[in-house]
Symmetry: C2
Subunit: 128 residues, 2 copies
């Protein structure tokens, strides 16, 4: 566990906001200004592979890295913004249904965020 790996782990796990690799890079540079992008990607992959951080893929935007504490995500179908939400845990129910073990699950709920709903109300064009 190198200083970079440790620091990246800290950054991801102490953030509330599912950071992109780019954002992790910025944060890390505050502590180690000489660090390079590749190191960030290497370590994010390593941490993810080891199950120590979460990776969330959202269509249309870069992958995000998140603490492993259980929580779910609301995704705005217009602007792509991610919001944390805490819902009933499905682990037991899923295990029962699948009849087997699994690592983790990822639940995303697509909606329209208040800001975008507002905008659409004002400008009723662009509707589907």
């Amino acid at each position: 566990m190198t200083k970079y790996e440790k620091q990246i782990y800290e950054i991801v796990n102490s953030s509330q906001s599912h950071l992109t690799a780019e954002q992790v890079f910025s944060e890390l540079k505050k502590v180690y200004p000489a660090v390079s992008q590749a190191t960030v990607y290497n370590n994010l992959n390593k941490l993810y592979g080891a199950g120590r951080i979460r990776r969330v893929s959202v269509e249309g935007s870069p992958d995000r890295y998140d603490r492993t504490v259980k929580h779910d995500h609301l995704v705005c179908r217009r602007c792509g913004r991610l919001t944390d939400v805490c819902l009933e845990d499905l682990t037991d129910s899923l295990k029962r249904q699948l009849g087997g073990e699994f690592f983790s699950y990822d639940l995303k709920i697509f909606y329209i965020c208040p800001e975008c709903r507002e905008k659409e109300a004002q400008n009723p064009a662009r509707q589907q």
Copy 2:
């Protein structure tokens, strides 16, 4: 609704296998050999924006397009392979918990697929 849009819709909705844009392109070329990639991306985006097809983002691999019929996905954490699975519908429960409407949800379950489990059993290196 152009002939391309229609055909792309057909391809995605009649496939069982969450195709990548690349795969949709190949399929479409069988019918319209002169079509270009950009057209495929344009139309996939359009169909997705209209809610007529699903888009599934999987970390590490290109986005996949899927029929809208309700189903969930198992994702292998080693090889990334996607497998369809049909689980209890969460819509009502989620609506209740969120206290509001939403478009759709996407549930991914991370596991290790039988092939990868097999491989790991044979070669117990590479474990986390």
